[in-house]
């Protein structure tokens, strides 16, 4: 059964069956990655453009690798956030790239809704690789896959997203996806970093990190984006790490079994202590490996639809 939408713009409104299909397909590609020859001919002859209007290393190379493993021709386009600065409108840039006869576009952009905008001006399949503070669906899919791989299910699990929820596309995609899959989702962070209307999405808000550790099966710890405006939302890094940082002591006291995840890159000593980042309860590098397989699954499912 194919997916219901020919684009992956976000996880809001994506039906359970679709997420299930992507996660199940990921298992197949996960197995490919363990073979001596890690390549399949599935997308031979398809051209995928990685359109990155915002700096990204790991998401871009993860997609690129996924495309290569599927034998697609991939093309990288990087530009500063707004191509308008160079005199060409975003729409013209896209029209030019489309005129080169491409099949799929993977887009990362600082402005929310850019993938939706692309579907209106371009015929290719669009995959959102992160739009502003909106969604980052493949990250949430790889997070869900990693949880399922480790704990065997998603339904009924308690997952808490920790950190700067208000400025995180990872948080929003995880919230939408996890709720659809039957998990109980909460968020934990300084109140200035929790969106005012977040509870209406069906999540609980926790301000005490020890309570979050105690109450949950999984903590998905977000990166505090020190380089961005995020710093204006809490008094100091010291205060943040003291009240919201996850350390071995905290885990020892309140959560010996809780699974620790992080989308990377980690600020060691801020949101995670080094001991936790390298400890036995985390699956951070597994997430990275699974990321390639999830992206292969998404590219495959969308690329073979039409």
């Amino acid at each position: 059964m194919p997916l219901t939408n020919r684009h992956l713009l976000g996880l809001q409104g994506v039906p359970k069956e679709d997420i299930q299909l992507i996660l199940d397909t990921t298992t197949t590609f996960r197995e490919v990655l363990e073979r001596p020859i890690k390549k399949v001919p599935t997308l031979q002859g398809k051209t995928v453009v990685n359109l990155f209007f915002e700096n990204s290393t790991r998401t871009r190379i993860s997609f690129e690798l996924a495309e290569k493993r599927l034998s697609a021709d991939s093309l990288n386009f990087s530009a500063s956030a707004s191509s308008v600065n160079k005199g060409e409108t975003f729409k013209d840039t896209i029209k030019n790239i489309e005129a080169m006869k491409i099949d799929m576009v993977v887009v990362r952009h600082a402005a929310a809704g850019t993938p939706q905008f692309l579907t209106k001006i371009c015929d290719a399949n669009i995959i959102n690789a992160g739009d502003g503070i909106h969604e980052h669906p493949t990250q949430a899919l790889l997070d869900m896959y990693s949880i399922r791989e480790k704990l065997g299910k998603l339904d009924g699990l308690k997952v808490c997203i920790v950190g700067d929820v208000a400025h995180s596309r990872v948080a929003l995609s995880n919230i939408f996806g996890l709720i659809t899959m039957g998990a109980k989702v909460s968020v934990c962070g300084p109140s200035t970093m929790i969106p005012k209307y977040i509870e209406q999405l069906g999540v609980n808000v926790i301000y005490d990190i020890d309570e979050a550790i105690q109450e949950n099966d999984v903590l998905n710890v977000l990166r505090i984006q020190l380089e961005r405006k995020a710093r204006e939302y809490f008094p100091s890094i010291r205060e943040y790490s003291k009240y919201f940082g996850i350390t071995e002591e905290r885990l020892e006291k309140n959560g010996k079994d809780v699974l620790i995840m992080h989308p990377g890159p980690i600020n060691r000593g801020v949101e995670l202590s080094s001991g936790v980042a390298d400890g036995l309860q985390q699956i951070i590098l597994k997430q990275v490996t699974n990321g390639v397989a999830v992206r292969m699954a998404v590219l495959y499912l969308l690329g073979t639809m039409n």
Partner: protein, 430 residues
């Protein structure tokens, strides 16, 4: 030239006129007779049978961006006036956020010169501070003498309380209003209303309190200085409530609302359509309900379009990068009748008050009268005509409207002013 308008309903609440099935004779643009016209009176006249349509004092839109000087690619005084005539207005007031800003008598004169031969009267709202920078008040005396009818830094609020205080004090010498775009600068810069929708869409939010803070500040300052304040494009529940209370307390305050703020909510943005991006942003249902209540009880004095033309290449971009604003001159009458009159929120008299009489009162302008010897200044309305908005038929130079293809009930059929008539898409001298 003699023009006889036959079979009309003549309505002017300012004069308590409500004459059904009558006729009116114009000679050289002046009203020469109201009532049944004899054969000799009709002799040699151009006779137009209006078949039960309504003749009301010409509509006036007190919040229009004409873009000239500076962005003539988006609108000019001439195309803006054409758009106004096509939309049913005989008068407009234009905002000073042009490039350069309208902060000198020369620019006021320039705009008046561009508009002088047009059917539509164009009045100028001048900048409240030099260059709209919020640092020093503009030369208000000179601007007043050149014909400015109000002062505003529209696009932003007057920056500081101290400059606001001086602006109120100085403008009082000429009894001109300070027209405020109410938005706290430190909370500005988002892309849509803060609410559940902004949470879903991941767009940077503008909280409603950003507007409320400045409405509150301005009310207090107007009260303290006894200045005259007009709140532009009011959009939040709290702001409407504050204006209502201020009026009760005797503050010299008036307020306007745009058709999009009484007819749309931020649900429209769910598709990231940049024609839903404006400032103040589209708000939530409770805000719209309070606005409707405010229109009904008179808290909100008038309806104004905030007509804001933008080129397609500026609007067809990522939502966050798109400029704020939509055009509104050619949909305002239809939206007011569809959403307010036909839904029994406002009576015809109230619509005329909010779109013709009150804006002129606020700006101290002459209110058109239906009397022999008066210059004809009318809007001709078909309040029941059902029509579909087609942006391609707009007279504005820009097409950035969220109402394209929308079905509306009620429209302007034509306008008459300054010895000119606009009827059936044509301007003629009368």
């Amino acid at each position: 030239m003699k023009v006889a308008l036959l079979n009309i309903n003549l309505i002017n609440p300012a004069q308590n006129i409500n004459n059904k099935n009558t006729s009116i004779l114009l000679e050289d643009g002046k009203i020469s007779k109201i009532g049944k016209l004899s054969a000799s009176e009709l002799k040699d006249s151009k006779q137009i049978d209006l078949n039960g349509k309504y003749l009301v004092p010409g509509f006036f839109d007190m919040h229009v961006h004409l873009r000239e000087p500076g962005r003539e690619d988006e609108e000019t005084v001439a195309t803006g006036c054409n758009s106004a005539a096509n939309g049913g207005f005989t008068g407009i007031a234009c905002m000073p956020n042009t490039e350069p800003a309208i902060d000198s008598a020369e620019i006021v004169n320039f705009i008046k010169e561009q508009a002088k031969d047009h059917l539509v009267d164009t009045f100028v709202i001048a900048a409240a501070t030099q260059g709209r920078k919020g640092e020093n008040i503009s030369p208000m005396a000179e601007l007043y003498e050149a014909g400015a009818v109000g002062f505003s830094d529209d696009g932003v609020a007057i920056k500081t309380a101290s400059i606001l205080k001086r602006a109120f004090e100085y403008s009082q010498m000429y009894d001109l209003p300070i027209i405020e775009h109410c938005e706290d600068e430190s909370l500005a810069g988002g892309a849509m209303n803060e609410g559940l929708n902004s949470t879903y869409l991941g767009l940077p939010p503008i909280p409603s309190v950003a507007e409320d803070l400045i409405v509150g500040r301005d009310i207090l300052m107007a009260d303290y200085t006894k200045g005259k304040i007009h709140i532009a494009h009011i959009s939040t529940k709290k702001s409407v409530e504050m204006v209502r209370e201020a009026k009760k307390a005797g503050v010299n305050i008036t307020a306007e609302v745009t058709p999009h703020h009484f007819s749309m909510t931020d649900d429209f943005i769910k598709t990231y359509d940049t024609n839903g991006k404006m400032n103040p942003p589209l708000r939530g249902t409770t805000d719209v309900e309070e606005i409707i209540k405010g229109l009904k009880d008179g808290t909100i004095d008038c309806i104004a379009s905030d007509h804001a033309p933008h080129s397609p290449e500026e609007k067809e971009v990522e939502f966050e990068y798109a400029p704020n604003g939509i055009i509104g001159l050619e949909t305002q009458v239809g939206l007011a009748f569809t959403e307010l009159y036909h839904k029994k929120i406002l009576s015809l008299d109230q619509i005329i008050e909010k779109m013709s009489i009150n804006p002129r009162k606020i700006l101290n302008l002459y209110i058109p009268k239906f009397e022999e010897g008066e210059m004809a200044n009318f809007t001709i309305l078909d309040i029941n005509e059902v029509w579909t908005v087609d942006i391609k038929k707009f007279r504005s130079k820009s097409q950035n409207s969220p109402f394209d293809k929308k079905l509306l009930t009620g429209r302007s059929v034509g306008v008459i002013n300054k010895r000119k008539m606009y009827l059936d898409n044509e301007f003629i001298e009368i």
